[in-house]
Symmetry: none
Subunit: 301 residues, 2 copies
């Protein structure tokens, strides 16, 4: 269960990040952490800010469990094996609540959205997909696994909040005919964690419509997931038209997904491509705080 505690005090954040209270206070005062103040001048740090800082600064030993008020979970039954093994087992057995708890506990352990996506969810869903192919799993089990993960990820997305109001904007979408929600959700999570504002337009979106949204919202980044493409030639044609709108507003496109093999990619124009969320994160970092954030100027951390 996700803690309902929305704001953290200095000591909590200090413990979580492994620094002193004084340092947290100084970081807040210098603007590195955006925090509100109580009438009595106490600092209130939004959960999302603490989490963003923890990931951005790359605290490997950050005890993110403290951020959520989550006591370190004792090893329960079923925790044997690697995290991937464990989650796969829970999903196969249809243990939704347990799977969701495990998912969120894993996230809290400090791996961040990228680790969650690339090291846990992706391999698990590959295995489940494989099990479905070879017949050891029924379709409904694959559906149920997706449903469970979707539910857990949406909870995390909601928890991370709408993003920083002044953060750069990213649009996310999945191509027409593509029914896979998980990549879009994971992308949203990754970018939220990096301080972006994200509008995830969901699955099965025609590129024409994504172009309209691009012109209207003028994002700095667009992440497009394509796990399935009905007609490649038609897709390429629509993509080129779409890319004109993108160029018009100066946005960057990063594409991903199994459907975009090398041959197809060679016919498209985009700023980045990646199979993993790590690629998306790396890419986004180059685009996120270059101009406006004074926080990186003083600290070469």
């Amino acid at each position: 269960m996700i803690s309902a505690e929305p704001y953290l005090k200095t000591q909590r954040v200090a413990q979580a990040l492994g620094v002193s209270v004084s340092t947290i206070k100084r970081w807040v005062d210098s603007g590195m952490i955006q925090a509100a103040r109580t009438v009595g001048k106490h600092r209130l740090i939004p959960f999302s800010e603490a989490l963003r800082l923890a990931r951005e600064q790359g605290f490997p030993e950050a005890n993110l469990a403290l951020l959520s008020g989550l006591a370190s979970r004792p090893r329960e039954q079923g925790d044997a094996g690697s995290p991937v093994d464990c989650l796969e087992r829970l999903l196969r057995e249809g243990k939704r609540t347990e799977a969701r708890s495990f998912l969120q506990a894993y996230y809290r352990s400090g791996v961040g959205a990228v680790g969650l996506a690339d090291d846990l969810i992706r391999p698990v869903m590959e295995r489940i997909g494989h099990g479905w192919m070879v017949g050891s799993l029924d379709i409904y089990q694959e559906h149920e696994a997706t449903e469970t993960l979707t539910s857990g990820l949406r909870e995390l997305v909601t928890r991370l909040g709408p993003g920083r109001p002044e953060g750069p904007l990213a649009l996310g979408a999945t191509t027409e005919g593509d029914p896979y929600v998980l990549p879009g959700l994971l992308g949203e999570l990754v970018l939220l964690e990096l301080g972006w504002r994200v509008r995830n337009l969901g699955i099965n979106l025609p590129l024409r419509s994504l172009a309209v949204a691009t012109l209207k919202h003028r994002p700095r980044l667009i992440f497009l997931s394509a796990s399935y493409i009905r007609n490649e030639d038609e897709f390429v044609k629509e993509y080129r038209s779409f890319h004109e709108s993108v160029a018009a507003v100066g946005a960057a496109v990063i594409v991903g997904g199994q459907a975009l093999g090398p041959s197809l990619r060679s016919r498209l124009l985009f700023a980045g491509h990646g199979d993993r969320m790590a690629h998306l994160a790396e890419f986004a970092r180059r685009f996120s705080p270059p101009a406006e954030s004074p926080m990186l100027g003083d600290a070469g951390l």
Copy 2:
């Protein structure tokens, strides 16, 4: 009614501002917050005061709306008209956070899952769908609206929890080729509220696989939503095979969705049919022992 209750109690404000109840009481007593009193000395804090405090503390307004589980908003902007009008406007304008808050506030106002589904979400989505048809809305806006509602509904589902362990089991699914997630989520919400355990197998599920799941989990009820059917004859054939499995475990099937017109329905065997969630609820009540409804209170967030 959504627009009643112009005052907030101490606890609400405390949660919204991220401080304790004691602090709110002290602030009111010291005059920092102007508040009225009931005859029994309870503090009544005008929403505008809470809003002012939130601004002074430096929190974005959206946070306040989200965290206070807002049952009422000031009439400043946007709340004019019926709840349907209001939610439609928020969705059209892409105000996700506000729309989600509104959705949840509406639910908390006591209408229950059935009222939420039939009186708010269904008409709103009909309007949005209509706007898309006539071209006043782009596809991405329809997608975004669905995305927003999905997110809000999932949050409610998660909070209603996995259902009572001893409650009767229901399976939910949406037919193959049907991409609409909302009916399934609403059905899940309705049944959870009635004390059922629910396994929602999600969209785009072949009936063959639903049959397998039925044999394995042996539910008492199956709710099947069909907004789109590719091939009616094939569907009828598969449905009959599916219904054998259903009969084998003694489950009841209730079907719904636009795709199931009268002519098609006459060819199918089911225990119930309904266009509205009220039908599903009524039907489910007959199949489950009288259960107290675990309506979600204000303590959810």
